[in-house]
């Protein structure tokens, strides 16, 4: 199935005896098949849920304190509880639109264990009274589409999905839905717009949660793929087995993709809350240090939107609150590592370009400000920037994220951390991400930017409007 130049999964991917909740089947070549799934405890969680009843199942999820794995880290059980009493129908929308720079986990879960995701969807629908499930998969994931379509067809045929599941009065359809290439659709209200056939532009808030007003204006639970993939384990083994792993505030495991200048980049299921960045980047069972024995220069701890960390932050555990206090966030579980050879402005440019390109165009600060930031950084990187441009970046940023911007501490610069989060003038995080991805490198490595610019000529005042 793979050609010579396709090297599917990194060696060492499932090495080590760490507890595995969502990647337990990844060692099998045929992990995506119904046969393998059933042979390895598949759909046992669903049976357990049906045996305990919807209320008890919802209670287990709440007790597990399963935090959403999409980026915001909101407890899934609490989110389900936001559905208004007595309003029907309610929907489940699965957010499989993984596209945050650096993030690579949901696609694996969909390609390698689609039945686990399907089982998770069924458990969620059963527990929260959701009468239809839409599995929204990013368009540019052809293999995931094929694997999920096959898995769904097999699961329907086997009686796991559709009417009267396993002979019970529980019946739900899971509809595989295809995205078509727009990062912003990962934002849950934009995802719903897209699922309604609209342009994927985030909705106004309030209402703050789709759980109250979502798909077609109905209560809608939007959960990330990895979040749902945890449910079969919780259903089958109970919340106590889940909370026994990880820390009290961050139980269970997390999938983390570590990419960039490390010896052994890969996606690893780590114990939540306690594993530090040093463990992940330098640990033997993980990335085994920086390539070629180089020095670590910086790393992005939580997907492209996150303010950068430097070596000073290596001993922070992979835990939301601690990362926040240190001036960044964990986001979607993506660490991008840069060694000392990295040209920081060029690296930042790729992220600014990403967010400017992915603006939906709704909010002015993001639509106009994001592109303005990009133009300036492009100019700097091409050698045509001036020192005034550096301050101008911060000025444009003030119109996107007013006030103090979070960043990491730096001993080298004598800089104290400004904790997360930032304020924003936009509806969603795309615009602020454009700014965050230039603000933090500029703050931590201003010298590298200054090295690329020339002194500014005297400013010419341009009137804003002819009158």
């Amino acid at each position: 199935m793979s050609t010579a130049i396709t090297r599917e999964y990194t060696p060492g991917f499932y090495e080590g005896d760490r507890p595995k909740i969502v990647t337990s089947r990844f060692e099998y070549e045929d992990s995506h098949t119904l046969e393998r799934f059933e042979a390895t405890g598949g759909y046992e969680g669903l049976k357990a849920a049906l045996a305990m009843g919807p209320e008890a199942m919802a209670g287990e999820v709440k007790a597990s304190t399963l935090l959403g794995r999409g980026g915001a880290g909101f407890p899934a059980g609490v989110k389900w509880g936001f559905t208004p009493q007595g309003v029907w129908p309610r929907y489940l929308v699965v957010n499989g639109d993984e596209s945050e720079p650096g993030t690579y986990k949901d696609r694996l879960l969909m390609e390698r264990d689609p039945h686990q995701l399907i089982e998770g969807c069924l458990i969620a629908c059963y527990a929260a009274g959701l009468s239809q499930c839409f599995l929204y998969v990013r368009g540019e994931m052809a293999l995931a589409h094929e694997r999920i379509a096959q898995a769904l067809n097999d699961a329907y045929a086997a009686g796991y999905v559709g009417k009267n599941i396993l002979g019970s009065d529980f019946g739900v359809d899971i509809v595989l839905h295809w995205g078509a290439g727009a990062y912003v659709v990962g934002e849950e209200t934009a995802l719903i717009e897209s699922l309604e056939g609209e342009r994927g532009m985030p909705r106004l808030k309030p209402p703050y949660f789709p759980a109250a007003v979502g798909l077609y204006g109905q209560p809608t639970i939007v959960n990330n793929v990895e979040t749902l993939a945890n449910l079969p384990f919780i259903a089958a083994n109970g919340s106590a087995a889940f909370t026994a792993i990880g820390t009290e505030t961050s139980p269970g495991t997390r999938m983390v993709a570590i990419s960039g200048h490390v010896k052994r980049p890969g996606v690893y299921e780590i114990v939540n809350g306690s594993t530090t960045f040093r463990d992940i980047i330098y640990g033997d069972e993980f990335c085994q240090g920086i390539r070629d024995g180089n020095e670590l220069k910086a790393f992005v701890p939580g997907g492209g939107s996150a303010p950068w960390f430097v070596a000073d932050q290596l001993d922070i555990p992979f835990e939301g609150k601690e990362a926040g206090a240190a001036g960044s966030m964990l986001g979607s579980g993506a660490v991008m590592v840069m060694d000392h050879t990295t040209d920081i402005p060029e690296a930042a440019l790729t992220l600014v370009r990403f967010y400017a390109h992915e603006s939906c165009g709704k909010c002015v600060p993001c639509r106009e400000g994001g592109t303005w930031l990009l133009r300036i950084v492009e100019r700097i990187c091409s050698g045509h920037g001036t020192d005034a441009d550096l301050d101008q970046l911060l000025e444009v940023g003030q119109s996107i994220c007013p006030g103090e911007m979070p960043h990491a501490a730096s001993e080298r610069l004598g800089l104290a951390a400004v904790p997360f989060p930032y304020k924003m003038t936009t509806i969603c995080f795309v615009g602020p991400s454009a700014y965050a991805s230039i603000h933090s490198p500029l703050t931590l490595f201003r010298d590298e930017f200054e090295a690329k610019v020339v002194p500014a000529p005297k400013r010419v005042s341009i009137p804003v409007a002819a009158g």
Binding site: T6, Q85, G102, G129, H145, G162, W178, G197, G260, L351
Partner: protein
Amino acid sequence: MSRLTDSNLAIAREIISRYPRKKSALIPLLHLTQEQNGYVTDEAMRHLAELLDITPAEVIGTATFYEMFKFEPVGTYVINVCQTLSCALLGAGNLMHHAEAKLGIKSGSTTEDGMFTLEAAECQAACTEAPTLQVNYRHRYRVTTDDFDQLVDDLRSGALSGEIPPHGTLGRNRQHIPADKFVGAPDPDDVTEGPAWIPVKVEST
């Protein structure tokens, strides 16, 4: 043919039936028409508007928001080379320069024989396998310049035609919900009661 063929129309109707409101089927149907024609034509968009009871302006409004939809003919193989951070750190820029030289075209254009379209792409969710590219949205990992040459040769020779369908085909299989298993997708306005398995009066929460 720009309108959906009869067989695709049957598929379209099945897709539409899965959604409580028709317009939700728009993006899947745009994929379907792109699969049929290689790109999305004006006539196809008019046809979808008819099927979904919306205006063509609504169709084009949605369609142009999403990058996967092409409104002019593209190559049989669309090669997207990722340019975002993780790939950029590991040589995506060089790979793109090499690809341009190998194919003899600039990023954003199509070879004269209509075989290849080369595009710079954003993050492809394969960051640990950098640098990556996709051919018709099928990943290739840790691509060296030699790998790229081999890939192009294989695509040209047809060696990969079994694995990589022409541009527009998202999956080589499709979801199909058997009629006897289909719970149904009623319009939410027509639903007043909770699902059967939820005890009346007791909220699941």
